[in-house]
């Protein structure tokens, strides 16, 4: 199977004034298969979001290549939509349904068609009947659903999600995790999902990419999750995998700690 996404020896440093900035990523290489649910896990500050920004085309690698379906990424594009961390990416002057249909509006889809599609996706994320509300009238979990619906509406083959559930309460998070897996299974799209929650990554991912601690982070190891779906946290195999990954992550966190001092 051909890789949908391929990072080849990617270096990244922010371009700063004067002095050379330290490397954020160093020789980062990995692949994500078409239709795969790939979770990126790593200690905070290791550069997970930078990986997403590079793949989305918001930043350019300092060296190395990033290929999507064998084409190098040059700029943001509608085939790679992003669900951002936090909710400041929603358009506060638009209603929920207007936010969801935003991508279709950009594409020039006529008003009636795009409204119909947007309503369908609102239902998919469990927000039917809430379309007329403004983001300020919605809870954090609802806003996150709007973001997900807005990204899904474009039919992008690739979805990039940056800790979309990090700020949510456990109950809402669990519901949205189930819904997300449902959507993924239904649509067969490729997901890159960033998280620092080991349990969440085991629950969702086909494979988990474990990053080393920054600076100059790279891929430490990639762990396949061979548990049958739907997955249960109470499954002993789940716990065993959690242990295994936990050891690696805390090793990396310890390694990064003296540097943070």
């Amino acid at each position: 199977m051909a890789a949908m996404i391929r990072f080849e020896d990617v270096d990244f440093r922010f371009t700063g004034r004067g002095a050379t900035q330290p490397l954020v990523l160093e020789r980062l290489s990995f692949e994500i298969e078409r239709g795969e649910f790939f979770c990126l896990l790593g200690p905070s500050g290791c550069g997970k979001t930078t990986v997403l920004n590079l793949l989305a085309g918001f930043e350019q690698p300092s060296s190395g290549r990033i290929l999507v379906a064998d084409h190098p990424v040059a700029a943001p594009g509608v085939e790679r939509t992003v669900v951002f961390q936090g909710d400041d990416s929603l358009y506060t002057w638009l209603t929920a349904v207007e936010n969801v249909e935003f991508g279709l509006r950009l594409a020039g889809v006529d008003a009636a068609t795009r409204r119909g599609t947007a309503e369908r996706y609102l239902t998919l994320v469990g927000l039917s009947g809430q379309g007329g509300k403004y983001p300020s009238e919605l809870s954090g979990g609802m806003k996150q659903r709007i973001q997900i619906a807005r990204a899904l509406v474009c039919d992008s083959p690739i979805l990039l999600m940056d800790e979309p559930f990090a700020a949510l309460d456990a109950q809402t998070r669990s519901t949205l995790q189930d819904e997300l897996i449902g959507i993924w299974q239904e649509t067969g799209r490729t997901f890159l999902f960033i998280t620092h929650d080991i349990g969440e990554s085991i629950l969702l991912a086909d494979r988990i990419g474990l990053m080393t601690a920054g600076p100059a982070a790279s891929m430490k190891t990639i762990v396949p999750v061979d548990l049958p779906r739907p997955r249960r946290r109470s499954d002993p195999a789940f716990g065993a995998l959690y242990e295994r990954i936990g050891v690696v992550v805390s090793e990396e966190v310890r390694r990064s700690a003296p540097m943070a001092r």
């Binding site: 400041d88 506060t92 403004y134 700020a167």
Partner: protein, 282 residues
């Protein structure tokens, strides 16, 4: 994080409301309850009484006229039509220059915010020009545009342009990066990004600039009219001073304050009705 902050703010508001209710509850047990709308009425009335007493007891009318004298002068000026005429002249200048300045300032600010090359090219002029008080340009304005409407329009436009421009620019530059990135990864062209994201996200900044600009327009027109004009509220004030009609001077001052207050309230009401959804709530 922002959700947490919102929740905190909401609970703080709720607690605040509760406290208010408790205070009101305690108060309603007493004999005198003053409804909120009456508070400013009472405070203004109190000021008028104090003014009347102080002015009447301590000063000759030519130095400090009592409110009663000012009210009489107000009635005379209104009856003669002079006050309305001067008001119309000043307001015409203010709104003319204000409209021009808002258009110029907002459009330039948007362009500077969105196109870095334009920003770099114009920045020196902006940084220089914003420290030049418009009134210091009165002499060249008089030479170029004459003593009539032209020079006043120029000065008010100048004042408004800078303040609206700076506020617009700041608003454009602080549009949350994720709002821009979201549009980019949903397929927005440069034009769409500007029209559908940058512009609506910056409107609150433009409005803020306009409100400040409105206040400065009043200042500028009066200053200009005091130095060189044949009509307008500034002219009314300076001209009455020459004739020791201190009561009419106060009529001019109070009219200015009232007009400014009204203009701002109207502007706010319009924004609330038309543009409430552009308030930055997130």
């Amino acid at each position: 994080m922002s959700r947490l902050a919102e929740e905190r703010a909401a609970s703080a508001r709720a607690a605040g409301a509760g406290a208010e209710r408790r205070v009101r509850g305690r108060r309603s047990g007493r004999r005198f309850v003053v409804p909120n709308v009456l508070v400013p009425v009472v405070s203004v009335a109190a000021l008028l009484v104090v003014w009347q007493i102080v002015a009447w007891a301590l000063f000759p009318p030519v130095l400090f006229p009592t409110p009663v004298l000012v009210a009489k002068a107000f009635r005379n000026e209104l009856a003669s039509g002079r006050l309305l005429g001067d008001m119309a002249v000043s307001l015409g200048r203010i709104f003319g220059g204000f409209a021009l300045g808002c258009t110029l300032g907002a459009s330039t600010g948007l362009l500077m915010g969105y196109i870095p090359a334009v920003r770099r090219a114009l920045d020196p002029f902006i940084q220089f020009g914003r420290f030049v008080p418009s009134i210091s340009l009165l002499s060249p304005a008089l030479i170029w545009f004459g003593i009539g409407e032209g020079s006043k329009l120029f000065l008010i436009t100048y004042t408004t342009t800078f303040i609206v421009l700076l506020n617009t620019l700041a608003a454009v530059l602080t549009v949350p990066r994720n709002k821009i990135r979201a549009a980019q990864c949903l397929g927005a062209t440069r034009g769409q990004l500007f029209r559908l994201v940058i512009l609506p996200a910056s409107l609150h900044g433009i409005f803020t600039g306009m409100r400040v600009g409105m206040g400065l327009s009043f200042t500028t027109v009066v200053a200009a009219e005091m130095i060189a004009a044949e009509a307008g509220l500034g002219f009314l004030i300076i001209n009455s001073r020459l004739w020791f009609q201190t009561d009419v001077v106060f009529v001019g001052i109070i009219t200015l304050g009232a007009l400014g207050y009204l203009a701002d309230k109207t502007f706010q009401a319009i924004i609330r009705r038309v543009a409430w959804r552009y308030a930055p709530t997130n």
